[in-house]
Symmetry: C2
Subunit: 616 residues, 2 copies
């Protein structure tokens, strides 16, 4: 019965959204987020002006004015969570943040510190406990954020934070670290979700976080050759704002673009929303500089394409802080597109939507971005809506009737695909034509530009919602994979099945939650992005249960033909799976390669295959 009521709301909503809240005009994509800096949360995701909060026990609201969803009252979210998780939610049950986290005393290498003090300004290094804690984790939901906020149990933290202000200073600090046998950890935006910043508990040496965010200048823009060189600590948002002032864009647009850095993108081998047009990070970065204990890794000449042996830059993508510090990169830049257009499509089922995506790859009409959500994702998006006005309520009911009764779309099966087209007017016209005529053949129909735009706007809210549900003792996390076309359904179904079984095995209260989307397509397959969650109330060791389940789901993905990671990286949480993915010899060679750059394991953060350091 509750299900039926939810449905009526959900289905009606699909066609109402483009009428919703005319007083809030959606800004353009690159203004989906506020361009002002603002104060960031110490540990949670994002800016302190933005929080999901209870307005009353049944209504959630979003504070501030930073995002399109800021200021929303959400009357459906609590019910949605209760229904889908089969639990009841009370504001009184909320987790309470630890006021003063315990931070271990810093392990100081006197010689190193004295040298740093002698050489650098006093504001370039800090032993402050809070600052050290901030630099000792990324944004792993349970392992890091949940633990720091609610149980204060990071076993090992960095011992000093250092802020270099130029490449020379990076070189100098690496030299000092090498001289005094200190461990360095490059720090960019701190947004990784792979445990890449987690300090190895076995590290006996002083650990120094090298925060790159003062190295945030665009060094030059070469308008003749569509190139720009920027320091690695520049935030995505700042990069885009500064390029935009000159009429350019890098086109790199990961969900974390407000908070992540150029250097972090390279080290993670990141993927951006609009990669169909601009490429993933390895296609955007022509050259970059990696400073290692033995010297620089770089190509001196930046030219469009080379056949000059193994490319130095291939040591940088996915290096995850293990080799040295990425200081700057030369990237491609593009004129801002002449035209941009949003769109959305409704398909009767996820399978139909996937069929359409596959067919679209075979045409020349690929838009900058196209994303297909599962039915659950659609329903979740609807749960984030605000209350409709009386008139809109009526309209929605009429539209729901039309969709359901006349067109036969099943509200528990239908899915939405959101689209961003960019390019010359001609290109966008051609894409538009190709996409919408092909969609028809696959049983899809247009659902308007506003739904498309809203889909992208919601992206910036997801991590805030994670932190909100964490407060409600709901453990949630995203994880992703890349799979060949014919393995998509197999992988999704296997993950769902495993999650259900694990929930029973671990006596999870209520039901576990799973939604997924296809955010990227390739010639040979897609990326699948999952969001998983369950209520941890009453579990004795919720984080351990979470780990067991997470690892099982990853194994199930691998067993069914998915990859270890499409764009999140390996870090700590996936390193145990690497021997299933790479040959033993590959791992041996990678370790020796590291040893050649960093013989004393100064960059001892131990991500990926580098949890072991070769002794010979």
């Amino acid at each position: 019965m509750v299900e039926a009521v939810t449905l009526a709301i959900v289905v009606g909503a699909v066609f109402a959204i483009y009428l919703v809240k005319r007083r809030r005009s959606y800004r353009d994509l690159d203004a989906f987020y506020d361009l002002s800096e603002g104060e960031r949360f110490a540990h949670r995701w994002g800016y302190t002006d933005t929080r999901f909060e209870f307005e009353d026990p049944r209504t959630v609201k979003v504070t501030g004015s930073r995002y399109p969803i800021s200021g929303y009252r959400m009357p459906y979210l609590v019910s949605f969570l209760e229904d889908t998780l089969d639990i009841s939610i009370h504001p009184d049950d909320m987790n309470v943040e630890v006021e003063d986290q315990e931070v271990p005393e810093p392990n100081i290498n006197g010689g190193f510190l004295a040298s740093v003090q002698a050489r650098f300004k006093a504001d370039q290094y800090s032993r402050d406990a809070k600052e050290r804690l901030i630099h000792s984790h990324g944004q792993l939901s349970v392992d890091e954020i949940y633990r720091v906020l609610y149980s204060s149990s990071l076993k090992r933290t960095v011992d000093l934070v250092f802020y270099p202000e130029g490449e020379d200073e990076v070189r100098a600090v690496i030299e000092l670290a090498n001289e005094h046998n200190v461990c360095l950890v490059p720090y960019g935006g701190g947004t990784n979700v792979s445990g890449a910043l987690a300090c190895p508990v076995e590290e006996q040496r002083m650990i120094v976080s090298v925060d790159l965010r003062r190295m945030n200048r665009i060094l030059w823009i070469d308008q003749e050759n569509y190139l720009a060189c920027a320091e690695a600590g520049i935030l995505g948002k700042q990069l885009e704002v500064e390029l935009e002032r000159k009429g350019y864009t890098s086109g790199h647009d990961p969900d974390s673009v407000e908070l992540s850095t150029l250097g972090g993108w390279i080290a993670t081998n990141a993927s951006g929303m609009k990669k169909n047009r601009y490429g993933n990070i390895e296609e955007i970065v022509l050259e970059a500089t990696l400073v290692t204990p033995t010297g620089e890794i770089e190509t001196k000449h930046v030219t469009p394409r080379n056949s000059t042996g193994i490319q130095p830059r291939s040591f940088l993508f996915g290096s995850e802080g293990n080799f040295g510090i990425i200081t700057k990169a030369v990237i491609k830049v593009h004129h801002l597109p002449e035209a941009r257009k949003y769109g959305s499509l409704v398909f009767p089922s996820f399978e139909k939507g996937v069929g359409f995506l596959k067919a679209l790859r075979q045409t020349g009409g690929l838009p900058a971005s196209i994303r297909l959500g599962s039915n659950k994702e659609l329903r979740f998006a609807q749960a984030l809506k605000h209350e409709p006005t009386f008139l809109k309520g009526i309209k929605e009911k009429v539209q729901a009737f039309f969709m359901q009764k006349i067109l036969g779309f099943d509200p528990m099966q239908m899915v939405v695909c959101t689209i961003v087209m960019e390019g010359s007017k001609g290109e966008v016209r051609q894409q538009d034509k190709t996409i919408f005529s092909l969609a028809k053949k696959h049983g899809g129909m247009s659902a308007g530009a506003s739904i498309g735009k809203r889909g992208y706007a919601l992206t910036f809210g997801i991590a805030y919602i994670r932190d909100f549900v964490n407060e409600l003792q709901i453990l949630g996390e995203t994880f992703e994979t890349s799979v060949p076309w014919d393995k998509i359904h197999q992988v999704c179904q296997a993950v769902q099945k495993e999650l259900d079984e694990q929930a029973v095995r671990h006596h999870i209260p209520g039901k576990p939650y799973l939604q997924y989307r296809v955010p990227q397509t390739y010639h040979t397959g897609v990326c699948i992005y999952f969001t998983m969650g369950f209520c941890a109330k009453g579990l004795e060791r919720p984080d351990e249960v979470f780990h067991v389940i997470e690892r099982r789901l990853r194994q199930v993905i691998l067993d069914n033909g998915g990859s270890l990671s499409h764009h999140h990286g390996v870090g700590k949480i996936r390193q145990g799976f690497l021997p299933q993915v790479q040959t033993e010899n590959t791992i041996h060679v990678l370790r020796q390669t590291k040893k050649a750059m960093d013989p004393n394991n100064i960059f001892g953060i131990r991500n990926g295959v580098f949890h072991a350091f070769p002794e010979d």
Copy 2:
């Protein structure tokens, strides 16, 4: 005066070509070459059925029926060479091939040979002198072909040729080589132009060429995911023929496609003509297997895109035989395009043509291939024409008058751009529209599909012509670079100037020859492909003079912002320049990486930075 007559012929010809020889219908692009195997020359380029020969002292003809230009009588070529090189040509002056080349006695490692004899079939290995010589060089014009054909002076050759028939046999022979300390050299199509197959004279161990061409099967085609897996020794032509039978193409189309192999493309980091649509080799190959003395380098899961640390496949691209043997690769395959259309454009000057190419990159109308030749290249193409009929002669004169007098195209400045469009009918229509309307704005005009098609057809004749002019004691070679957009003219002019100066300094008879083209464009610049030649008659040490000049030209390219190589690779002839291009530390790390895979330097072919092997 001679100049004027040549010009009249040249200019007239531009517009006559699409009327020429109706009896020879141009086949489609993938049938520009004969699909039959045929006997190959031992040392020269290509098939024995195809030779440029004197029919009479003023006329050259092409033997056989393999290519569109086969059977041609070329009455203009001799005059063209005489005019542009300022020499006179007599068939009597032709170089005479050495009948029986001296081949050093093989240096046999008894233990290794005995093991090979015990383990493999007798037809899998050979000590035959001729076979060893064939496997001891690539297609470097002067260093290798000229030397082998006319002076028989290869100082070091391989000592045995081995033909593995599967990955297990590759593993076995590497094991034996490691056990007996024998040097292995992977051999694919033997088409490299970088000296990559030249045996190091200092190599004291037995050298065994491992010819991969019996490993030439397509192992599987995955039609659901647009993937195919093929053994590394498959020839480009065979790969395409077999894929085409199933309705697919790899889209990789280097000029050497008839003779080069999949493994060779990876080892060289090759580029294909149609890379705008299908990508260069690193975009085509998803995964490949490298067998090294310490084991395999590969990713076990083939998935569309990964973020799992340094990618194993990045050790393969550009590895140039230094690390091990590439045994197989998983590549993307595409449906054969629904539509294909040729086109050509005339521009009043090279500069105008480059301006057009740059503007075209900013549109969505990029064709699969677009190439712009210099004016010299256009005139050379005209010199390869056959005699027009009386009627066509008249027509040409009328058209020449129209081009020159009415439109004001200067025959000594104008250039031609050739185009291949591929895709759905809609895509090709869109490309066609974009290209031709943009060309108008840049002072270009269409010159018809046939000229476009002919341009691509001539590609397959170029290396045969090189061997012909070699016979005439004209030393010719191609070399290439990639440059940012704003360095194109600077690099071309600097190369021309240096060549002219060097010709004077070295008392070259007549004048040196230089033509160039832009065969590939990128977002940030282009590839420039040069063809250089000069008459060596009367020079005491022609090959040494050639070397000095070649090295000077490469230095001039680097000094003016070009890269060391766009797609030919480093091999031996460019390794001396690497310290200008990569940091010292990069070279150190690469050498240690090799040592990790191949601690005994079994793959001691010493290409690129690996002329030195680290001792520590």
